[in-house]
């Protein structure tokens, strides 16, 4: 068909259909790094358009080195990325005789994502764990691997609702209150309130939040029910 024919077709309301390898499954995730803990959380609702696929499809994954990855965007890509990370961690242990540090894993995740620069993993990742000094560490990513270490971050469909709330409550932005380092109790309260708030206004967020609490004693998981509407 010549260009003139396309313009004619468009005027008449013709639509060309194409297969898209991507879909948006919605959902919100967040992470907060403390002095001696790290909190990584994600809701469990999986949606597609206006439908709910599942009320319990977790999108935060725990790894053998104590790190937790929260993904948002496309669930299939997040799940497969987690499986590949599992394998890379296993190879690292075989070859080096020890578990991979969170910092090394963070750099590795960046390279894994960039290797698919021309057919990316449609995931917005947040990696959390304890660094080699035992301090909480979170790393945030874009789909092709751009990353940096931060103190707190929210991502996903409700990310823009939650991020300013975290900036204020965790980062003490626009406040004149004393700068106390965040405690685990406060972080959990803030995280739960953040999810409740997001579930109110973002249709893709709800059902349940899974919170992964990472300390030197291991990873503890807490489930927090959210509104199902």
């Amino acid at each position: 068909m010549a260009p003139q024919d396309w313009m004619e077709a468009e005027k008449q309301g013709a639509v060309q259909h194409a297969f898209s390898p991507y879909t948006d499954n919605g959902g919100t995730s967040l992470a907060i790094a403390g002095e001696d803990f790290c909190l990584v959380a994600a809701d469990t609702r999986q949606s597609e358009g206006y439908s709910i696929n599942s009320r319990y499809a977790p999108k935060a994954y725990k790894f053998s080195n104590g790190a937790v990855l929260a993904t948002s965007g496309m669930h299939a890509d997040g799940h497969t990325l987690a499986k590949r990370l599992d394998q890379r961690l296993e190879w690292y242990e075989h070859n080096h005789g020890k578990k991979m540090s969170v910092g090394a894993m963070a750099q590795m995740l960046s390279t894994i994502l960039y290797q698919k620069r021309f057919f990316p993993y449609y995931t917005f990742n947040i990696l959390g764990g304890l660094d080699e000094n035992g301090k909480g560490a979170i790393y945030t990513y874009d789909p092709v691997g751009s990353h940096e270490r931060e103190g707190w971050r929210a991502a996903g469909s409700g990310g823009s609702l939650v991020q300013p709330f975290l900036d204020n409550q965790i980062g003490h932005k626009h406040q004149q209150s004393p700068q106390v380092p965040i405690t685990l109790e406060k972080a959990l309260k803030v995280a739960k309130d953040a999810f409740s708030g997001a579930a109110e206004r973002d249709i893709y967020t709800g059902d349940m939040a899974e919170l992964f609490i990472i300390t030197k004693d291991g990873v503890h998981v807490e489930q927090y029910p959210l509104k199902r509407d």
Partner: protein, 262 residues
């Protein structure tokens, strides 16, 4: 008599129907230090003698983890063992990725044997010069297999390969009937007895020159090295003292019975 004419090539049969290159590869296994394997209903255990090239050098590791439920001990060319173990690790991970379940021991041993056989029928290559004892635990219970450079593999309740392994096999042949119901400790002590029999006259098992690998029900494959071995070496020494002509169960006191005074 005609061995020298028919032994340079893996693809040449001898008139007696043998391929000498395969047999020479198996010789390489016999040169390696001894490794022993034995299993009960619930556990599969591997024990190895580690050699060091020099007084100042470290002792060669002879146990390799493949997956949570699979491990191996080897005798022969270390580099060939590394290549085969990397292959097995890839297979194990692929199995988990594709089928969502751990790789059954029989399958991986079969795959290794097929790989080894290929090298016995291909011009320009050589057979792998390493023998493997593969220990696994899955739904079908505890497993112990031997893989050889010939491409053969065998299922065992107990086996030893490497230098002076015949002495270990003699011990295992005497005691194997008690292995199935043995406790883990007893199994390891039996293994240490067999392993100790492969050492030269003036040598003894110590924290440096041996290692134990265990996999089983509720036990992910793990290697016991160095100080952690002390407990088992103590049990072994105790058992050796208690052992007379007949094997004594571990834990029996070797102190004389109190005298009846009345």
């Amino acid at each position: 008599m005609f061995r020298n004419q028919y032994d340079s090539d893996i693809t040449t049969w001898s008139p007696q129907g043998r391929i000498h290159q395969i047999e020479y590869a198996m010789e390489a296994v016999k040169q390696g230090s001894a490794v022993v394997g034995l299993k009960s209903k619930t556990h599969s255990v591997l024990l190895v003698v580690k050699r060091s090239a020099d007084e100042l050098a470290s002792y060669q590791q002879k146990l390799l983890r493949i997956d949570d439920h699979l491990g191996l001990a080897f005798a022969g060319l270390t580099s060939d063992a590394r290549v085969l173990s990397n292959f097995m690790r890839t297979e194990a991970m692929n199995s988990r990725m594709l089928y969502g379940r751990p790789l059954p021991t029989y399958r991986i041993v079969n795959a290794v044997a097929n790989k080894a056989q290929t090298n016995t029928q291909r011009y320009g290559g050589r057979p792998y010069g390493v023998g493997l004892l593969v220990a696994g635990y899955d739904d079908a219970g505890a497993h112990l297999y031997e893989c050889s450079p010939s491409g053969n593999f065998f299922d065992y309740v107990a086996i030893a390969i490497g230098a002076r392994s015949q002495s270990a096999k003699t011990y295992l042949e005497k005691h194997y009937e008690s292995f199935e119901e043995s406790s883990l400790d007893d199994l390891v002590v039996h293994g240490l007895h067999a392993l100790a029999d492969t050492l030269q006259q003036d040598k003894e098992l110590n924290l440096n020159n041996c290692s134990v690998g265990i996999v089983g029900a509720g036990t992910k494959f793990a290697t016991i090295d160095g100080d952690e071995l002390q407990r088992y070496l103590d049990l072994h020494a105790q058992s050796a003292r208690a052992r007379g002509a007949a094997p004594a169960p571990v834990g029996e006191s070797d102190a004389p019975a109190p005298m009846d005074t009345e």
